[in-house]
């Protein structure tokens, strides 16, 4: 089973840092420790597994959990046409390593995650809001941000 190889290899290579490796609904998923992100990303990107494309980087907010945010990375290997999902738990206020060194589209993806969730990325060249304007306070995609709380930039017409 070729899929199992990637997760098996990861577990063998990083052991402690891989908290969980499974394939729900057919998507290979590996939950890793926060500090091991750069090593594992570098390892996955290099030739044996050649996950050369960072498909997607997003964040999910679980207010109930102790580590509130969960960063979700989808990597894709063009040569072997295989996808893998790397997840890591992130307490609020903590920062996670930025992947702009490995993939160039991480720049905008991380700016979007910062804009929407307030997740900080160490080593990001220019971390500012991507979608909302500079004067917007709060992070809209957090579960505690009300859906209809508008912050108009110009006063409504009298």
């Amino acid at each position: 089973m070729e899929e199992k190889k990637t997760l098996g290899e990861l577990r063998k290579r990083f052991g402690g840092n891989i908290l969980e490796a499974s394939a729900p609904f057919g998507d290979e998923t590996a939950v890793i420790r926060k500090d091991a992100l750069l090593q594992i990303a570098e390892f996955l990107r290099n030739p044996p597994f050649a996950f050369t494309m960072l498909l997607d980087l997003t964040c999910v907010d679980y207010p109930g959990r102790p580590d509130r945010f969960e960063m979700v990375y989808h990597l894709f290997s063009l040569a072997r046409s295989e996808r893998i999902r790397v997840k890591l738990a992130l307490p609020e206020g903590a920062a996670v390593a930025s992947l702009t060194g490995l993939w160039k589209n991480a720049d905008w993806l991380e700016r979007e995650a910062f804009d929407m969730f307030g997740v900080r990325f160490e080593g990001h060249p220019d971390l500012r809001r991507l979608f909302m304007d500079e004067g917007f306070d709060g992070h809209p995609l957090r579960k505690d941000y009300p859906l209809r709380k508008r912050q108009p930039r110009i006063p409504p017409r009298t």
Partner: protein
């Protein structure tokens, strides 16, 4: 026609000016979202907005009479829309094209202005998400009717005391 006592010339002149302005509308397509696709169909050969004299697309507020706000206006875009409206030359009219411009449409959330009449005065609202080209042309006809009937404004007009 608003008949002003004793100003026979002005009502006749008012009519002529209204007729001239209604058939030579230069529109500024302020296109942002999905309605833009329907605007393309309206402006192109199949439904042809040019049959009603409004085919001339001007991309500068200085040269346009009609601000056609097409699509969703988000909070970030609101000051831009306000500036473009202010910089338009008189006489100017505004058409809100599509449900998002009319009332925020299906996006009732933190990001979208709930209807552009919160920012600028609007003359004609065209509902629909997106409105069919025929609805757009009908909206244009309604605006032309309004221009014809409204009291025109010109520089040397004797203002009422």
């Amino acid at each position: 026609m608003t008949s002003m006592p004793g100003h026979f010339v002005t009502t006749r002149f008012n009519h002529i000016l209204g007729w001239a302005r209604k058939f030579s509308l230069f529109h500024y397509p302020y296109v942002t979202a999905c309605c833009g696709m329907e605007y393309m169909s309206t402006a192109c050969a199949h439904f042809d907005i040019d049959r009603f004299g409004a085919g001339m697309t001007r991309f500068s507020p200085r040269q346009s009479d009609l601000l056609l706000v097409v699509g969703t206006v988000t909070q970030k875009l609101a000051p831009v829309l306000k500036t473009v409206y202010d910089q338009m030359t008189e006489p100017k009219w505004v058409i809100a094209f599509g449900a998002c411009a009319v009332s925020g449409g299906i996006y009732d959330n933190y990001a979208v202005v709930q209807g552009i009449d919160q920012i600028i005065p609007v003359d004609v609202f065209i509902p629909g998400c997106p409105p069919r080209p025929e609805m757009v042309l009908d909206g244009l006809l309604k605006l032309q009717e309004k221009i014809q009937k409204q009291e025109q404004d010109w520089r040397w007009k004797k203002r009422k005391p």
